[in-house]
Symmetry: C2
Subunit: 343 residues, 2 copies
DNA sequence: CTGAAAGCGCTTACAG
DNA sequence: CTGAAAGCGCTTACAG
């Protein structure tokens, strides 16, 4: 990596390294025009590319922003990542990406590495149950923040730092209300893992709202937080409900806590010969872009995923004079579509 | 960012900075046991986190791997990114992520920044027309490589470096063959932008294979390389073909050069009252995971997206003794599903 | 406006 | 086995 050095540029331009440095990055003081030109020319001719590592060491900040997600191939996270990416670019930061596969050890490792790289901020998009932030992670974040690092979480509680929180609980309740208003009376739930905050909030919000209408889910099952989790949970649900193709009664309305799980569920039911919304209805959550063209169209709660990502970056980069701990709540918008349509 | 320093650790352990350094990262020479213990204890007590920037400066490499994609929210790229991520983790590299929105200026900027950060390798996943790699980019890559940087491209030609190339041309030809074998005789094509290599290869492979069967597409239209591009192209196609719901004749079979475009097309046709595969058939390319549960199920060419990503990383990190320029061809696998089923 | 010099936090020959 | 010292490539007070 013996690239062209600032010193090389300075020599060729016949100035000191200090001057070359000042010319090449916007120090306010503009040097004599001739000088600046010579330096810039020399830099161009030599193909000089500043060494960001050295700059980082000499300055205070690295210009790095760490993003931690469960799985970048999951459309929920990739949409968020897109927003993070865009906002980071606007702020001239580089994104360091890590995927954890929902493994807390890997997550802790990612945090350590980001801290080692002295990222200016870390955005943690994986969600977990409250209080579950282990001591070790918490201690590291503490030191990190003490040294000027910023941390922002998406969709999970944290005793400190910034947070952008989709209103999972509230929006799920609204969804339940809308479904009841649409005429549904029999419900079931496909939940996610019990240690994922987002999953639990959505389930609770929904079930509590049902309770206010004097209703209770007939069955609750749960599975992994992905397509296959929804698929297998849906099979169990069908068995528990003794669902039959073409049965007479009004269909049960299932709330799957994510769109991706809902899609897996529909696929499972289709394999059983059950049709949505005729034999069974289902609503999801997230409004995943790639899934918008699904048939039947999916009733869901629209979350502005990209915006969530960019807001997280904004929070992370905001000056934190006094109010250091900022939370931004992101409301969801209910959209009723074919998958819950009563005939 | 005044974090704990190696010096701090050394002092507390009562050893020199050099010794502390040797203990804390696996220098082969094992110091006296007592010493090592003291250093490690001091590091733990102080919460020492090595400064990767400083290490990078002192060593040769940064441990950074740059990944450039068009759009991380596009499932094609997010699947690749997942593979890159996994392979990078296995190689203990950190992923630097950039999205270009298909803007070549932004792409060039991303490359510069990655080089400035002295990434050990750069994986370029955006695809473009051959020869279109502009001078400036080429020059930068040249210097980068001269300084030890590795570059690997996915799905595009490059005069140097490594490349992993999905066999777009060949697989599309196979798809055409399979469709003809299934009984299709009338074809049309929904292509992508003319400056995207992947798009052009797929279209050409398909059309050339048709030619070998003495067939020619009735119509060709094209659109942006995304869902909306497929959607609008499909409308134009329907108009050109004067498609009517419930028409008698055997349906035209459309090849959309990506699954995502195919999905957009199906949505457009549905809006027009046309049904797939009854009124019109369609095949895609990629086998996007999230789309596997689509109805009708989509005939497509399966590409091992994650593997493509991890192979790219392997290539980038491989020792390049003599054979510096490596290419890996990735075959596609044809899967006929409902969307091209003839009744 | 410009330059000499110290310093950012590590690693690594080179001696001992 | 261990330490003193130079060096990685920049930035930035501090003088001039």
């Amino acid at each position: 990596m013996a690239a062209v050095t600032l010193q090389d540029v300075a020599m060729r331009a016949g100035v000191s390294q200090a001057t070359a440095s000042r010319v090449l990055n916007g120090s306010n003081r503009v040097p004599g025009e001739g000088v600046a030109d010579r330096v810039r020319t020399a830099a161009r001719e030599l193909g000089y590319v500043p060494n960001a590592q050295a700059q980082a060491l000499a300055r205070a900040s690295t210009g790095l922003l760490g993003l931690i997600v469960h799985d970048i191939a999951d459309p929920y996270f990739s949409s968020i990542a897109r927003g993070v990416q865009a906002a980071a670019r606007a702020a001239r930061k580089q994104v360091l990406l890590a995927g954890t596969d929902r493994d807390f050890d890997i997550e802790r490792e990612a945090v350590s590495t980001f801290i080692a790289h002295r990222a200016d901020a870390i955005v943690l998009a994986g969600s977990r149950q409250s209080g579950d932030l282990d001591r070790e992670l918490e201690a590291e974040f503490g030191r990190y923040r003490a040294n000027g690092g910023r941390v922002v979480v998406i969709g999970q509680p944290l005793a400190f730092g910034g947070a952008v929180e989709p209103e999972n609980h509230f929006a799920s309740a609204e969804l339940a209300d809308a479904l009841v208003a649409a005429g549904h009376r029999q419900f079931a739930v496909i939940g996610g893992p019990g240690n994922i905050r987002t999953s639990v909030d959505r389930r609770n919000g929904f079930v509590e709202a049902l309770g206010r209408h004097g209703l209770t889910p007939l069955v609750e099952v749960s599975g992994d937080f992905d397509r296959d989790g929804g698929h297998s949970a849906a099979r169990r649900l069908a068995a528990a409900l003794e669902l039959q193709p073409g049965a007479a009664a009004p269909p049960v309305c299932v709330f799957a806590v994510t769109d991706v799980m809902a899609i897996g569920a529909i696929a499972a039911w289709r394999e059983l010969g059950l049709s949505v919304p005729r034999d069974i209805c289902v609503a999801g959550f997230d409004d995943i872009p790639t899934l918008r063209d699904h048939t039947p169209s999916l009733t869901t709660v629209v979350l502005p995923l990209e915006e969530i990502g960019s807001r997280a970056v904004d929070l992370a980069l905001r000056n934190h004079d006094d109010a250091d701990d900022l939370r931004e709540r992101i409301p969801g918008r209910i959209v009723l579509r074919d998958s819950t349509k009563l005939s």
